[in-house]
Symmetry: C2
Subunit: 251 residues, 2 copies
């Protein structure tokens, strides 16, 4: 089918947060991201723009496919080396109350979309589902966050809160036993802290400020750095902690 | 002192790999990166362009400082939210033969400068120094690699090789006992493999292809992923392995 004018303007509008908010949709670019979307929320897909050579790469119902010339496609694409596929989909509803998996990974005012997506991917790879974020964080449904996350957003429980305190309170109400704040300077050793992944919430801050919000009952956890170095990137810190949970399971 | 015309053209030329090769210099942008440069190779600094408000932030000898108006600075800066400081420095010489630290982290055809810099930072934080790379990898002295690495390049032993086989041979000659290739599909469990950090070389590939080079004696190592997910980002994989070495030390 042909791309309509309305669809064209929707595609363009979704480049901005305002456009996503207004329409309740997002753009999902790249083959792996679209596959993740299709596997988890096929009902949310409105249409997909593809270049002629990509049309057979996904098993989409034909009525959802809009084949457009490469040149027009490039106008929509947010990346230089595009894979030739962008799906437009409704943003999934906020998940119900129950918390899935063993622990919650939370980010506080994480501003970088690449970091958000990368953390989502690490969490997904570790078999966890809960990724929470506070106001002031990047929009998880923005182009770059979806590309970096390769669409794992569509299979996770993303929850947004106004503040760290709100987030912690919600967690406590739903079975979270401990709130841990990752701290570059002091805290319990992440490799030996027994309760770190036992129905816990682990909060990572955005660089360069670390976690800005506070919660009185929170415990501090530190990743030891023998190199005597200030700090690592937020996504790296999250990944170290996430895979420490994997290690404890498989070792 | 005033920025000369020659310095202006050098600054511009250093945005490209060809310009860096010709002059043997690189640009180092951002406060932390410049501090890392200053702490490790003060003798390599040729000059630093700073905005008026940044001139007191570093303890540079005055004759090296070129204070320029914000507007002109922005022309040189590779980033939108610049910190107002860029140093131009000679690229440090290749390190001597001896291998420092406990293990070598090597990347094979890693094309993303952000990933390169991030891996360098994780390695530095873990107290290791050897970061090797094969032809086909990004230039570690490019703007973005230095920004992502926050200049830790200046305190590491970076070594470039034509191929994975060359790299492994060099390692073997200099005391490396085992070569491990990180493999997303199969291999020894990274959390239980005893010899992983004992004078070993660990090779990470660029996404999405993983390690392309080969070396007959290489062992394979895998990061377990309970989420049954294809793979994580190259920088995340490297960081998981790097901090597994830290865990074994501090636990």
């Amino acid at each position: 089918m042909e791309l309509t004018r309305k669809e064209t303007s929707l595609l363009r509008a979704l480049a901005t947060r305002a456009g996503r908010k207004k329409s309740g949709c997002c753009r999902c670019e790249g083959l792996r991201a679209v596959r993740e979307l299709f596997a988890n929320h096929p009902e949310k897909i409105q249409f997909a723009v593809v270049t002629p050579e990509m049309q057979s790469a996904v098993d989409f119902p034909e009525e959802l496919l809009r084949i457009v010339p490469e040149k027009l496609f490039e106008e929509f694409s947010g990346t230089v080396n595009s894979q030739g596929i962008i799906a437009v989909a409704g943003i999934p509803d906020a998940p119900a109350g129950e918390i899935a998996g063993e622990f919650v990974l939370a980010v506080d005012q994480l501003g970088d979309p690449g970091n958000f997506g990368t953390i989502a991917r690490s969490l997904r790879a570790a078999g966890q589902k809960e990724l929470w974020y506070t106001k002031g964080s990047v929009d998880p449904w923005g182009d770059k966050a979806i590309r970096s996350g390769m669409g794992v957003q569509f299979s996770m429980n993303l929850r947004r809160f106004d503040s760290l305190a709100d987030m912690a309170e919600f967690g406590k109400k739903h079975g979270i036993k401990n709130v841990f704040i990752a701290d570059p300077h002091q805290g319990e050793n992440c490799f030996t802290c027994d309760s770190l992944f036992d129905r816990a919430m682990i909060v990572i801050g955005g660089e360069p400020n670390g976690v800005r919000g506070s919660y009185p009952e929170a415990r501090r956890v530190i990743i030891p750095m023998p190199g005597n170095y200030e700090s690592i990137n937020a996504a790296q810190a999250a990944t170290v902690l996430i895979f420490e949970s994997v290690r404890r399971k498989v070792m």
